[in-house]
């Protein structure tokens, strides 16, 4: 456990050339997820003093993930440009990041999501009369080429209500834009099981997620 933490923090603080060989300079290790805490420090450094080294660490960690995220959604041709835009936004909006409200990964996700929405909206306005379709050809092929190896993640609030299968299915279908068939193949289930996992996951979320209204 101790060693795991050490590794996690070694990966990320103030790298000069590569994020992988740096010493640790963390002050706050008490939280459940030291790595997430560390990204918060980086974001705050970017916000308060336009710290380019901190920005670079964030970039080295998140840019490839952001790009994969877009690739996974069948946006091979736009992935690079959108990733660039995401980091422009991160830089310009750093001051509005609230570390008490959200993890950096969550905040970046909202930027990634909104730039995707903006892109699709622009395209829709350009081709009002045409149907919204994904580029199946080139993009579809690359989509399948992305390696989907995953590491186990620290369990967070919403996830604690769901079992692993339910979580995986929700991620794939809603956040990675996979069809039931593709999600089924990747998770080694039948499409029928995928559907029933979605139903049960929604049921659990419906009964647990905030508020008095059921």
């Amino acid at each position: 456990m101790q060693q795991e933490r050490q590794q996690a923090t070694n990966l990320v603080y103030w790298p000069v050339s590569s994020p992988k060989r740096q010493s640790v300079n963390m002050t706050n290790l008490q939280t459940a997820d030291p790595q997430a805490q560390c990204w918060k420090q980086h974001m705050l450094a970017v916000a308060s003093s336009q710290d380019r080294a901190a920005f670079q660490s964030l970039y080295l960690h998140f840019a490839p993930k952001v790009k994969s995220f877009y690739l996974n959604q069948g946006m091979a041709r736009q992935a690079e440009e959108l990733t660039h835009e995401v980091f422009i936004k991160i830089w310009q909006k750093a001051a509005s990041y609230n570390s008490e409200k959200a993890n950096v990964s969550t905040w970046i996700f909202t930027i990634v999501r909104n730039l995707r929405i903006d892109y699709l909206r622009r395209r829709r306005l350009d081709e009002v009369s045409q149907d919204e379709t994904h580029d199946v050809g080139e993009d579809g092929e690359l989509d399948l080429g992305v390696d989907l190896s995953r590491k186990k993640k620290q369990v967070q609030q919403v996830f604690t209500y769901l079992n692993e299968e339910q979580r995986n299915v929700l991620q794939k279908v809603y956040f990675e834009d996979k069809s039931h068939q593709i999600a089924a193949a990747e998770l080694d289930m039948t499409p029928g099981v995928v559907k029933s996992r979605i139903r049960s996951a929604l049921k659990v979320l419906r009964s647990h997620l905030g508020g008095e209204d059921k």
Binding site: P64, N103, D118, V128, D147, R150, L202
Partner: protein, 219 residues
């Protein structure tokens, strides 16, 4: 109870998968509703987790990433360091639709073109350029009875100003209501009238030279 979007709709909204018109409707509610703000924030954690779980490039690609970073720094030197932040940034709505969101949130209805459809009801069309849905504002005079109507598919309503009631409840500003084609109800506007955003599946329209004929067949 139908005051909030169902969790599945919120999931689609949070992950950015809703059609622009529906995103507008859910976004207006999201801006207004503390409960759904919390729900969306929790669902966004799932998005963050998904992002974190994405595969990272192999070591030998680090150089490419660093090259891209240099390009990024170059771009950053050319732009304003701090962007103006819109009060609608948190919504999962296209930035190009912030203007219409702002109009509706601020209840700025004066320069809308209202068509009178009955002595106590007015309509105004909002051009969302969304092929799948029709977006309208409905304005009801005080205590107006809203005639029963049927529609194909679901109808989504967000109360923007005033209130209305039906046998199932009382809907104040911010309420989000979904009715399917089987729902029958006879709502009545409140004492100060009511203005709602209503989104319905647009009837299938065909364009092009064969359009009129195809439209004739589809009715």
């Amino acid at each position: 109870m139908k005051y909030h979007p169902d969790i599945e709709l919120l999931l689609k909204y949070t992950s950015g998968k809703l059609e622009p018109s529906l995103a507008l409707a859910v976004g207006l509610h999201h801006k207004h509703c503390k409960i759904c703000q919390e729900r969306v924030a929790e669902l966004e954690i799932v998005g963050g987790e998904t992002l974190e779980s994405m595969p990272t490039v192999a070591d030998n690609e680090d150089q490419i990433v660093l090259k891209d970073f240099d390009k990024l720094l170059g771009a950053i030197d050319q732009i304003q360091p701090v962007a103006t932040i819109s009060e609608y940034e948190d919504l999962a709505v296209a930035e190009s639709d912030f203007d219409i969101v702002d109009k509706l949130v601020k209840q700025d209805f004066d320069d809308m073109e209202w068509r009178r459809v009955s002595p106590k009801i007015w309509k105004s069309t909002i051009a969302m350029n969304d092929a799948d849905f029709e977006v309208e504002l409905l304005k009801f005079a005080a205590n107006a009875k809203i005639p029963q109507h049927t529609h194909e598919g679901d109808e989504y309503t967000v109360v923007l100003q005033g209130d209305f009631s039906d046998s199932q409840g009382h809907y104040k500003a911010g309420s989000f209501i979904v009715q399917d084609e089987n729902d029958e109800h006879s709502p009545v506007a409140g004492e100060n009238g009511c203005i709602c955003l209503a989104i319905t599946n647009a009837p299938l329209k065909f364009t092009g030279t064969l359009g009129p004929i195809l439209n004739w067949f589809s009715h």
